[in-house]
Symmetry: C2
Subunit: 383 residues, 2 copies
């Protein structure tokens, strides 16, 4: 239906089904697989958009739930849309608010039309449903907008998961009917079904009856363990149409990204790089490290020798350790830059391996790193 | 004595004595007058060094008191010096710690050798005196280092000011004797004397008996009112040797800078741009504004139309207002960038006016702006 975005698969790994592609949006081309940094309130925690740009970010995500509450979608429309309001002229994706109203423990009442909830800060009662979410996201004006879904937390019983999934499907129909800017905003449908494979299969079948420009896997990383996440992603991804971009919502870590790409996912978002950074943790090829520990006090080497992010080019672990000891905000900023760059690079490396036909080897190396990292963590916990 | 820095006066305003000059240091040339952003702990609050560089900063200041406590001057020496440790290859100035130990209310005991004080965070007792300050600053390795002085708070009685000044003079002698890197670090002497003109005159006479590469006016903006600050700067600056750089410590606002340049000062530092930014205040040519106020909620123009800082090029007041309402750290970062850039530009504009022979006119415009800003503030306070 919509020609707001076009997706072209450039290469597929015959061993895994991992894909490299190009997603053309009204604000430019996104090469996939791609990691999308998250700017919840229209800003990334501790990082400015020029720093995000210097991390080679191609697209960022923002939350329509937060933007609806403040400054309000109408104000963003008045400002000329989200790109002008936040000062980022590349592609933007907004989520629908479904995840927030179901997960932030402020849920009041669910009706067939949507959800009444209390503002997580003010206490005022608000309402968002599928039709309202389209009004909000159409006003905000991102390149890609998401269907308003019912995102059930795990563990969920089969009946809870079924009811939530069916509501998600009915709401998708409403979203499709109320989306008023299909020419310049691409609406992605969201597959639910919790950890039940038959529900995931039914959800894919139902959601893909709509000829949408992209599809997402929702309801993942909402309480279930890592192996369950991996099983669901492994099972669900190949069911989605091969010709459309596939977006795994809210995932993840460097390993999660490699694994999901191996399953055929094209797009990811997660707050982990900035959240971990504020707590002093950095992604490295050898696993996650904490810059708070005194072992880095005299380590005059960068976080990673071969990393070309600003932080690694200019600063040592000893300096970063000093900033965290001094509670200097610059510490969180510099680690955020590194972590965002790390996840973006992870996706780019996967892309290059897929294009050059070496993805199987690349993925096996990632598996070995992941395994030794897991062993090291287990050992650290036991010692 | 030292050839660590060379200063060349390029032009003097015949009306005021305002000067444009070039200060050549081991890490590059600084064009004066110059505003020096302050990175207390070896980092600027909320701003990375690439952002400081993009504000056209030529030189930054750091505090040897803070660096001595953490991470320690020996560690910085081991890292290869302050430039390498913090990742800033342009000139750096460190202050001596005198101001901190006298002003942070942790003073324990003054002896002829120095000051015993409690760490402002840990509670451990420390000692810094003129000899020790040279050891610390020589280890840190900034291009310009400051004498360890006794900085008395205002209001001070004449006798207090006299005793403090005489101690400063004795300590300067000790600093000169213990400074071990005169070839690559320039030691600046500091004039004290509180608000007493005869003491300031005596202090200049005594401090300049040492053939030092630069001189500073200390003990200003330490409790006295604005007109007293202006009187002291107006009186003291022309007494300092015309061939050496003159540094006014800890001052100030856009107006303070214009005024001090008019008196013949060449260098300034102040935490005001970053401190005010964190509280939502921005310097503009029309005076200081608060981005917290709701009047900017729908103002889709930049802080200043003709400002070429990153913040003004990319963002509107409405967006900045939104960030402060949302308590997003990026708000403080973006305002810090603007405020630092504003003070740096202020000094550059003065320099250009001095070089082109139009400083009198430029300064009169600044006076008119300052006067209307003061009137507006008074009116705002009375309404």
């Amino acid at each position: 239906m919509s020609n707001a975005v076009q997706f072209q698969v450039e290469a597929v790994c015959p061993w895994s089904g991992a894909r490299a592609g190009r997603l053309t949006t009204p604000h430019g081309v996104v090469e996939t697989p791609v990691f999308m940094p998250v700017g919840t309130n229209g800003a990334l925690k501790a990082v400015t958009f020029d720093q995000v740009r210097n991390c080679d970010a191609q697209i960022v995500l923002s939350n329509s739930y937060h933007l609806y509450l403040r400054p309000g979608h109408e104000l963003i429309k008045e400002a000329g849309g989200i790109h002008r309001f936040i000062g980022w002229e590349k592609p933007i994706l907004t989520d629908s608010g479904g995840f927030q109203v179901f997960s932030l423990d402020m849920l009041r009442r669910i009706t067939e039309e949507g959800v009444f909830f209390k503002d997580h800060r003010g206490g005022r009662e608000h309402f968002i449903g599928p039709a309202k979410s389209m009004v909000i996201q159409n006003a905000i004006g991102a390149d890609i907008i998401m269907a308003f879904d019912d995102c059930v937390k795990n563990p969920a019983t089969y009946d809870e998961a079924l009811a939530s999934m069916e509501r998600t499907h009915r709401w998708l129909q409403t979203c499709v009917e109320h989306h008023s800017r299909a020419d310049d905003q691409a609406l992605f449908g969201i597959v639910q079904g919790s950890m039940y494979e038959d529900l995931r299969e039914r959800s894919v079948a139902e959601v893909t009856t709509h000829d949408l420009p992209g599809f997402a896997i929702g309801g993942v990383a909402v309480g279930e363990d890592r192996s369950t996440i991996e099983r669901i992603v492994f099972f669900t991804t190949p069911l989605l149409p091969a010709s459309k971009p596939r977006y795994l919502m809210g995932v993840g870590t460097p390993w999660d990204i490699s694994y999901a790409i191996r399953c055929g996912v094209d797009m990811f978002d997660c707050v982990s790089p900035t959240r971990l950074a504020r707590h002093g943790a950095a992604f490295t090829r050898q696993g996650r490290i904490s810059l708070r520990t005194s072992k880095y006090g005299k380590d005059f080497t960068p976080l990673e020798d071969d990393c070309d992010c600003f932080t690694c080019k200019m600063h040592t672990k000893a300096y970063l350790h000093h900033l965290f000891k001094q509670k200097e905000q610059a510490g969180g900023t510099l680690l955020s830059i590194h972590n965002i760059h790390h996840l973006i690079r992870q996706a780019v490396e996967c892309r290059e391996a897929i294009l050059s036909g070496t993805f199987k080897q690349y993925f096996e190396e990632q598996c070995a790193l992941h395994e030794s990292d897991q062993l090291a963590r287990t050992a650290a916990q036991q010692s």
